[in-house]
Structures are given as structure tokens and as C-alpha cells.
């Protein structure tokens, strides 16, 4: 057997093989042994995620424990950009677009034929329908956070997406709790609604110290949902999960921190009264041909709001899952502004309801007393400032009762709502020195006008109490006595919200305490334990002698028994109140008169008031004609109920 000489090239070949294999082994060694821990780290980062567990949002009850808001589960479809493989992105987007009926690219539409779903909606000028591709692009800033594509997805679509999950990597169907507002338009101004965090405020929410807000969260946007956002939202839980490449949770790792459900709210509102008040107001508005009105009812001994109605109203359920373009536009463009709570936000001239403040001021300042008689001739003439001797330049001031009331005391003046009595009281006349603007303004502020009441709802306006400086700054004119006259009867520059005048009237009713109106009675935890009990809050004790307020009350009682508010003279319960008909700029009627808002503030029963009311009907004409019957109906309903 002859051994062939080994080919040197083959030996070289062998060497090369050994070299290459060693190279591979070396590199593998580097990866596995030297860098092993680091790689293990990265493998873990791939598959472990910290996710938050949503907390159930608190629900809301009325004072009797009736449910006003509940959470119902709904489906959302979201996508985690990091889990979407680039080579399949296109097909996933197309499939989702067809399943969810969403556009692939964003659309700028001013006309849409079908309702759209958009998480970003409030405050938009033009309608914007985000496309799936753009949402994903946006989401790449935080590629491991799910981007919500659609809320309130129909069941069948959600199930279909779940079935196709192998073909839709990175896509998740999650259950989120949606709010169901049981009362709908009945309570929408009080309760408000939730929605995605508004972009302008995103920073303030997300960067709050200790907050667990995430970009996709729903937060309260208005109403009690907003003012009690912190109590309602609870605290999210957390868990570590292991996920696969498509982002699907495979298992939970370690123990999870459970979420803490939000607190529940018990409102001060009485649902039955709220219904009754809404119906009564609507009836009164229709009878008066008005499109807007307010009723607020409160407990004058505590400041609790028993009912709060602002019409027209809106269905806050529309905002759940994203409001449609048509719906939102309709609400925005309605000239009577259904989205606005006129009870807190509407600033109007008060008309004669202001007289109760004037009366209290006059009595306390000692300008008048119970027996003081002032004459109402029907018209008085205020001499011209710079030519007091020239009668042709004098300005007439009329009483609404043209013939004149004759001689009146303060109780009668209130009961009959005499204008001239109050002109003279406030601005003085001839030898009779009146209160003067500063004092009148001072008392107005005492009674809470000109500042927000601090009710636990957003959007409250503070009204306007004019002053000499104010007039000079705003109109470039000096304050004249005529202005004081106007203010005395709640006209001119003075403005207030229905809530403010109610609160003032309640302070009269309860003997001199101005309370902060409250709409949330208690905060309770999920098991019903009280977390924050009700506590009435005093804004101030009015520095007015009790007998003076008693006199004003007498006047208000008289108004109902034989005065302008006689329609509220209910059998079985002693009602007291004050009417008002406030002129405002508008088209004059056939007799050349300006249109008026109808007002009526009232409380009952006189001996120990339980309920104070304000009724306001925009453009409703005479308070005594249109507003008083509304109050009468509401009070009748209230006391019938309580007598059961």
C-alpha cells in the first residue's frame, strides 16, 4: 500500500477550516460568556413590560342614593408601534382601516356623511379625521405605549380583530370603561363628561408630581367630573408582564399592585326635584316663548344645591366615545348655547330682585326704618346735573306702575316692587339723602354679588358691580345719580348670575348667613365609607341686624300674599319671594318697550325655610307673569312630596 504524499493544498485547506471554526468559536464566546449578562438584560427588556392596570372610575349618586352615572365596558382598539413589524405594517394598516372604517391617511373634511370617531376633538375649528398611519407615526415617539385607534368599537368588530390577531401583530383589543350618563340632558351641566386629555393641558396633567396620568387617559372635562377628577379617578395599579413579539401579554410576573377604585360622589341634588324643576321651567319657557332659562334650588340653611337646571341642555352621552362632527357643530352653533351652564355663567341684569339688597342696605344704614314713608308719584324728575334749574332738561324716572303707588313703607315697596321708592332710597331725591353708589355697591358685595360663590362646578362668572372708576375707565363718563337709580332696580350696568341672586336671597331667608353653595354632598369610597362628610361652609355672616332682615322677609312674604308674586301664594305652605323684570338690549315691542328677562327668587316655608329658589326666563317678559308660576309649580311639587 503506497501512501500518497498528502497534497499540501489540502493541508492548507484544513488549516483554514480550523482557523475559521476557531474564529466562530471565539466570537460566540465573546457574545455568550463575556457579554452574556448584557444580552440576557436585553432579552429581558424585550419581553418584560411594566403596564398599568386601570382603576374603576367612581360613580355618582343623587342625595337619595339613586345612581346618576355608571361605568359600562366598551372596546377600544389600539396598536403598539414597537410590536408592528415594518415588513407587515402596510397590510396591517389596510386591514384595520377596513375593519374599523377609518381612513388610512388623515382627512381634513368640513362635510362628512357618516359619524366619525376621533379622540382629539374639542377646540377644533375644522374637522380632522385622523388616519391610522398618522396615528401610528405620532405614536412612535413612545413606541411601547399603545396608540388608541378607535373607541367604542362594536362587539363584532372587536371579536373579529381578536380572531385575526396572528395577522395583526401589535394590535390590541382592550376593554375600557365608558361612562353612561343615566339622566342625560337632565343632569349634564352638573355632571359634565369625560374625554381625552386636552392637548393644551397635556403637560400639566402628565407632569403633575405623583400623578399616574398616561396620554391615553380619559379625564373629566366639565361639571363635577372635572372638579372632582382626583376623587373619581382612583389610583392605577401596576404589574410586570411578559409579552411576546406582538406585544401580547403572555403572563404576569411577580405580584401586581392592585388598582384603587375611585371614590363615589353623593350629590346634594334631589333627582325628583331636578325633574320637576326641568319640566316646570320648560313649561314656563314655552308659555313665555323663550328659548333659554334657569332654575336653581338650594337649602338656605346649608347651601346645598337641590336642583340646578339650565335650558337648553345637551346630552352628555354624546361625548362618549368621541362626539360626531354634526352633533358637536349643532351644539356649538345653537345661539342659546346649550353647552353653557347659564346658572353659573350667565351674567344678567337682575331687575327688581336686586331691591331686597337695597332694602336691607337702607335699613341697616338707618336711612329708612319700618315706618319710613316714601312717596311714589309714578314719575319723578331728576334735575340735570349742570342745569338743575332748567326743568326742560330734567330726566324722568318712571315707576312701572304709571299711576304711582302713592306713599309706601319699605314692606309695601318690596311687595309691590315700587321703582321710585328704591330710586330715592338708593340715589336720594331732593332733600332725601340716599345710600349713594359706594354704599349700595358695598352691600351688593356683602351679599355676594360681584364675586364667584365658589360652588364646586367649573365656569362660574363673577358678575359686575359698577363703580365710579369703573364707569370712567369703561365708558369715559362720570357716574351720575341716574345710574344709581338704575342700579337700585337692578338695571344699568349691574350684572349677576342666577346663582348669586339666589344665594343672596337665601342669606335673607336664613337670617343673615351667606353660605358657599355646594353640589357634592359626600365623597365615599367603593365600600360606602364616608371619606369626606358634608360640611356647610360660611362665606360670611352678614353684618346686618336681624330685625332688618326680618323686615325684608316681611316684604317678600307680602309680595306673595298680596303683591306682585301672588301667583305663588300656595295653600298649605307659606312662600315668600321677590319678582323681577329686567330690561335688556333687544328689539322693542309695539309699545316701544324693551324686552325683559323674567325673574323670581323665593323661599319656603317662611317660618323655617327649607328651600330657596331662583327662576330665570330669558326674554320671558314679566317676572310676575311667567317666572312666578314656574316657582309655584316647583314648590307645590316639592312640598307635596315632602308631605308624603
Amino acid at each position: 500500500m503506497e501512501k500518497r504524499k498528502p497534497d499540501v493544498k489540502i493541508t492548507l485547506f484544513r488549516t483554514i477550516i480550523v482557523f475559521l471554526l476557531s474564529l466562530l468559536a471565539l466570537q460566540t464566546w465573546r457574545l455568550q460568556i463575556v457579554q452574556g449578562e448584557e444580552s440576557q438584560e436585553r432579552a429581558n427588556r424585550n419581553r418584560f413590560r411594566l403596564v398599568s392596570i386601570p382603576a374603576a372610575r367612581g360613580v355618582i349618586y343623587d342625595r337619595q342614593g339613586r345612581l346618576l352615572v355608571r361605568n359600562i365596558p366598551s372596546f377600544i382598539v389600539s396598536i403598539v408601534p414597537a410590536d408592528l413589524p415594518p415588513d407587515r405594517e402596510e397590510e396591517v394598516i389596510q386591514r384595520l382601516a377596513s375593519l374599523l372604517e377609518m381612513p388610512v391617511e388623515s382627512q381634513l373634511d368640513s362635510e362628512l356623511s357618516s359619524p366619525s370617531q376621533s379622540p382629539h376633538l374639542l377646540g377644533l375649528e375644522q374637522w380632522f379625521r385622523p388616519g391610522i398611519r398618522d396615528l401610528i407615526e405620532e405614536g412612535r415617539k413612545n413606541p411601547f405605549l399603545p396608540v388608541i385607534l378607535a373607541h367604542d368599537v362594536p362587539r363584532e368588530v372587536a371579536f373579529l380583530i381578536e380572531e385575526e390577531h396572528l395577522d395583526l401583530p401589535g394590535v390590541m383589543v382592550q376593554i375600557e370603561a365608558q361612562r353612561e350618563y343615566i339622566g342625560g340632558p337632565l343632569l349634564s351641566h352638573i355632571i359634565g363628561y369625560v374625554g381625552p386629555i386636552p392637548e393644551e393641558e397635556a403637560e400639566s396633567y402628565l407632569e403633575r408630581p405623583g400623578s399616574d396620568y398616561e396620554p391615553n387617559d380619559l379625564v373629566g372635562l366639565t361639571g363635577v367630573e372635572l372638579t372632582f377628577e382626583e376623587e373619581l379617578r382612583g389610583k392605577k395599579g401596576r404589574k410586570h408582564v411578559e409579552v411576546d413579539v406582538a406585544g401580547r401579554e403572555v403572563r404576569t410576573v411577580g405580584s401586581a399592585i392592585d388598582p384603587q377604585p375611585g371614590y363615589n360622589l353623593i350629590l346634594t341634588i334631589d333627582l325628583d326635584l331636578q325633574k320637576e324643576a326641568t319640566e316646570a321651567l320648560q313649561e314656563g319657557m314655552t308659555a313665555a316663548g323663550s328659548q333659554s332659562g334657569v332654575v336653581v334650588a338650594m337649602d338656605p340653611q346649608t347651601g346645598e344645591i337641590l336642583a340646578l337646571v339650565s335650558l337648553p341642555s345637551y346630552d352628555n352621552n354624546l361625548f362618549m366615545g368621541g362626539i360626531s362632527f354634526e352633533d358637536y357643530q349643532a351644539l356649538q352653533e345653537d345661539p342659546h348655547r346649550p353647552l353653557v351652564d347659564h346658572a353659573l355663567t350667565g351674567q344678567y341684569p337682575l331687575g327688581s330682585t336686586f331691591k331686597i339688597i337695597g332694602a336691607a342696605a337702607g335699613l341697616e344704614e338707618g336711612i329708612i326704618n319700618r315706618h319710613t314713608i316714601i312717596n311714589c308719584p309714578g314719575t319723578i324728575w331728576l334735575p340735570h346735573r349742570f342745569a338743575p334749574e332748567d326743568p326742560s332738561l330734567a330726566q324722568p324716572f318712571h315707576c312701572w306702575w304709571k299711576p304711582g303707588h302713592g306713599s309706601l313703607s319699605v314692606v309695601s315697596a318690596i311687595a309691590q316692587s315700587c321703582d321710585i321708592f328704591f330710586y330715592k332710597l338708593a340715589g336720594g331725591y331732593q332733600d332725601f339723602a340716599g345710600l349713594g353708589l359706594p354704599t349700595l355697591a358695598y352691600y351688593a358685595r356683602l351679599f355676594g354679588l360681584g364675586s364667584p360663590t365658589g360652588i364646586d362646578l367649573p365656569g362660574e362668572n363673577e358678575g359686575l358691580i359698577p363703580s365710579e372708576d369703573w364707569k370712567r375707565l369703561t365708558y369715559g363718563e362720570t357716574w351720575v345719580t341716574g345710574d344709581t337709580y338704575n342700579m337700585a332696580i337692578g338695571q344699568g350696568y349691574i350684572l349677576a348670575t342666577p346663582l348669586q341672586i339666589l344665594n343672596a336671597s337665601a342669606a335673607v331667608a336664613n337670617g343673615g348667613t351667606l353660605y358657599r353653595p355646594q353640589i357634592v354632598r359626600e365623597v365615599r369610597d367603593a365600600e360606602g365609607k364616608i371619606v369626606r362628610p358634608f360640611r356647610k361652609e360660611v362665606i360670611r355672616q352678614l353684618p346686618i341686624a336681624p330685625e332688618n332682615l326680618a323686615l325684608v322677609r316681611e316684604g317678600m312674604r307680602a309680595a306673595v300674599v298680596w303683591g306682585t308674586a301672588w301667583k305663588a301664594n300656595l295653600p298649605g305652605v307659606a312662600v315668600a319671594g321677590k319678582t323681577g323684570s329686567a330690561e335688556y338690549p333687544g328689539p322693542r315691542d309695539r309699545e316701544g318697550k324693551l324686552p325683559t328677562h323674567a325673574w323670581f327668587v323665593a323661599y319656603a316655608p317662611v317660618e323655617d325655610p327649607e328651600i330657596a329658589l331662583v327662576v330665570f326666563i330669558e326674554g320671558g317678559g314679566e317676572g310676575s307673569v311667567t317666572a312666578v308660576p314656574v316657582a309655584a309649580r316647583i314648590l307645590a311639587g316639592y312640598f307635596d312630596l315632602s308631605l308624603e
Binding site: 500500500m1 503506497e2 500518497r4 498528502p6 497534497d7 493544498k9 489540502i10 485547506f13 484544513r14 477550516i17 480550523v18 475559521l20 471554526l21 474564529l23 466562530l24 468559536a25 466570537q27 460566540t28 464566546w29 457574545l31 455568550q32 460568556i33 457579554q35 452574556g36 448584557e38 444580552s39 440576557q40 436585553r42 432579552a43 429581558n44 424585550n46 419581553r47 414597537a82 413589524p85 415594518p86 413606541p143 411578559e242 409579552v243 411576546d244 413579539v245 406582538a246 403572555v250
Partner: protein, 369 residues
């Protein structure tokens, strides 16, 4: 027959069988265990791999019995057949991942480029063996290149850059063994460098992307660099003894993609660790050395060159694939011989081994004549 059995290389066969076993087990983990199950057992990948292996081994024994010198007679028709089937791929071929590489015959799919490797080796070996020392002359060297270049071009156009590259390296190894002059080879290399920009431009976008990503893996972690990153994480997290069979998170949670083909090494690395890798390298090394032994013992140049060609194919392809998995080489999409799932590839390899066994069995004939 006894003679045949005496010279049959059982060590080679043994190493091959162990590799196949390794392969079926890892494919099982990469597919079946990680949730990719077919509708029935025949549909599952690891079973199909096993079946292909059985068929291949049967063919191996068959081919080993036949004298490899018959191939000398058949080399021309075989070459033409290969060219034709490569052309056919363009006409009726099936695509995957943007390339047309398969012919679908309903019962089985056939990848001509795999068989082409073997046929080119045989044809080239015949040519070089016939020309003998003349290969030292440039024109003959060039002609040998042309023999390889035609199928190489057709394969490159599929596109299958990896396989084309392997053919080039096979040619290089074989002509070197045959005795080509380094001088000539250097000239050709220079020409190749000149052509490089042209080749770069003609590369598909995704290929260029892969090269760029190789140079800087952090560049695009979710895009083209994804596979490489995941492979590195997978291999690296294997440590000494791995995460355990069926327990590698990169594998089981599907962070690794194409786990049963291009990245099967990463599955092995993650689950069986450095020890598992060493075993693989050992098996491959044994295989290659036994094939080179056949080259040494071959009774003619034809056999020697065939064996060298086969060793080159297996060795270089393995090096490229493993290199891809551990970050030494950009992703060029070649599979790991014996380990990756693939019927055509496996059967071609076993056929090639059969030829090598045939060379071994007949190496003493000369002496007895």
C-alpha cells in the same frame, strides 16, 4: 460489497446523522414548541425535515454504490439541466421574501440553486481534472470561471446573493487546489474590485440596507437591523449552557424571526449555550475533515476536486451563516447546512456526501488494477 463496506466512512455518516438529529430537534423547538403547528403532524416542519433526511440518506447510499466516474459522462447533460431549471425559475418560479427561487411541483418544492451547487462542482471538477496543468495558463483559468459564472449570474438575479457568493468561493477553492497561479487570481481579484461599485449599485435596496445595518446595528433597531439585533441577543443570552431546550425567550416569544432557517443557530445558541455551539462546531469540523480526507485519498483529480468543492460549499456556507448569527458578517440570507430547515438543501448535501462516499469507496481500485 465487503470491500465497499470496508472503505465506507462511517464516521462521516455518523457525524452527518448527529447533525441531522440536532437539526430536527432545534427545528422542533423553533417551530412546534414555540407555537407554530401545522394542521396535522405531516404539516409540521420538524417532521418534514426528518422525512427529507430519510429520503436524502437513502439517496446517499444509492449514490455511494454507483461509481462516481459515471458522473464524468453525465456532467454535460446535468449542467444543461441545471441551467434550464434555473431559467425556468424566472418563468414559473415561486417567490418568497421578494425572490423567485422555487419551483412548485405540488407534492414537493424544488430549489434549483441548491442542486446547482453540486452540479457546478462536478462540472468544474471535470473541466479542471481534464485540463490538468494547463489551468496555470490564464485563458483556461478564465474559461473555468465562465463555467461557474453562468449559473452564478442566474442565481444572483433571482436574487440570491448568498448562494452566488458561495459559488464564487467554491470556484476559487477548486482552482487553487487544481493549481492555478496566484498571479492570475490576483489580476482577477483586481478586476473584481473594479466591478465592485457596479455590483453595489445593482444590489437591491434591502441588500444595501443590510450591509449598512451590519456596519452600524444601532441605526435602525426596528427595521433592517432587527434580525441581527435579536440574533445577537438570543445567542448572547445563552451563556454557558443555554436557557434550556424549549425555554429560550427570544425563540419562544418569537422575537427572533425566520428561526427555523437563517437563524436556527441563534435558537441553538440561546437554548443550548456555548456548549451546544461547541458541539455543533465539532460536528461540522469532523464532517469537513472527513471530506478532506476523501480528497486526499481520491484516486484521481476528478474525485479530489469534487471532494474539495463539497467541503468548500459546506464549510463556507456554514461560516457565512453562523457569522451572520453572531454579527461577523452582514445578513446575506444563507442557510446553515444540515441545520436549517430546507428539503432541497438537505437532500443536495446528502447527495453530495453520497458522491464523496463513492469517491472513498473506490480509492483503492487503482491499486488493484
Amino acid at each position: 460489497m465487503r470491500r465497499a463496506t470496508q472503505h465506507f466512512d462511517f464516521l462521516l455518516l455518523g457525524a452527518t446523522l448527529l447533525l441531522i438529529l440536532y437539526s430536527v430537534t432545534m427545528i422542533y423547538s423553533a417551530t412546534y414548541l414555540s407555537g407554530e403547528r401545522g394542521q396535522n403532524l405531516w404539516d409540521t416542519l420538524f417532521v418534514r425535515q426528518a422525512i427529507h433526511a430519510l429520503v436524502g440518506i437513502g439517496l446517499l447510499f444509492l449514490v455511494a454504490r454507483i461509481d462516481y466516474q459515471y458522473l464524468e459522462l453525465l456532467h454535460r447533460p446535468l449542467y444543461i439541466l441545471v441551467i434550464l431549471s434555473l431559467l425556468l425559475v424566472f418563468v414559473v418560479g415561486h417567490g418568497s421574501f421578494g425572490a423567485q427561487r422555487w419551483l412548485d411541483f405540488n407534492i414537493f418544492t424544488f430549489q434549483p440553486s441548491e442542486l446547482a451547487k453540486l452540479i457546478v462542482i462536478i462540472t468544474l471538477a471535470k473541466y479542471l481534472a481534464d485540463r490538468g496543468p494547463e489551468v496555470k495558463r490564464f485563458p483556461y483559468l478564465l474559461l473555468s470561471l465562465v463555467i461557474v459564472a453562468i449559473p452564478m449570474l442566474l442565481i444572483y438575479l433571482q436574487p440570491a446573493l448568498g448562494t452566488a457568493l458561495i459559488l464564487a468561493v467554491v470556484w476559487l477553492a477548486m482552482v487553487l487546489v487544481a493549481g492555478a497561479r496566484l498571479r492570475h487570481l490576483t489580476i482577477l481579484a483586481l478586476l473584481g474590485v473594479l466591478c465592485a461599485p457596479l455590483i453595489w449599485l445593482s444590489l437591491e435596496d434591502y441588500m444595501r440596507e443590510r450591509v449598512m445595518v451590519f456596519l452600524n446595528p444601532q441605526q435602525d433597531p426596528l427595521g433592517a437591523g432587527y434580525n441581527m439585533r435579536q440574533a445577537l441577543i438570543a445567542v448572547g443570552s445563552g451563556g454557558w449552557i443555554g436557557q434550556g431546550f424549549g425555554s429560550g425567550s427570544q425563540n419562544q416569544l418569537h422575537f427572533l424571526r425566520v428561526r427555523h432557517t437563517d437563524y436556527i443557530f441563534s435558537v441553538l445558541g440561546e437554548e443550548l449555550g456555548f456548549v451546544g455551539v461547541l458541539i455543533l462546531l465539532l460536528l461540522l469540523g469532523t464532517l469537513l475533515f472527513r471530506i478532506l480526507r476523501a480528497a486526499d485519498l481520491a484516486r484521481d483529480d476528478f474525485g479530489k476536486l469534487i471532494a474539495c468543492g463539497v467541503a468548500t460549499v459546506i464549510g463556507f456556507q456554514a461560516f457565512v451563516n453562523i457569522g451572520m448569527n453572531i454579527g461577523l458578517i452582514p445578513a446575506v440570507g444563507t442557510s446553515l447546512p444540515f441545520m436549517s430547515y430546507g428539503g432541497s438543501g438537505l437532500i443536495t448535501l446528502l447527495l453530495a456526501e453520497g458522491v464523496v462516499q463513492s469517491i472513498l469507496i473506490r480509492h483503492r481500485k487503482l491499486e488493484f488494477q
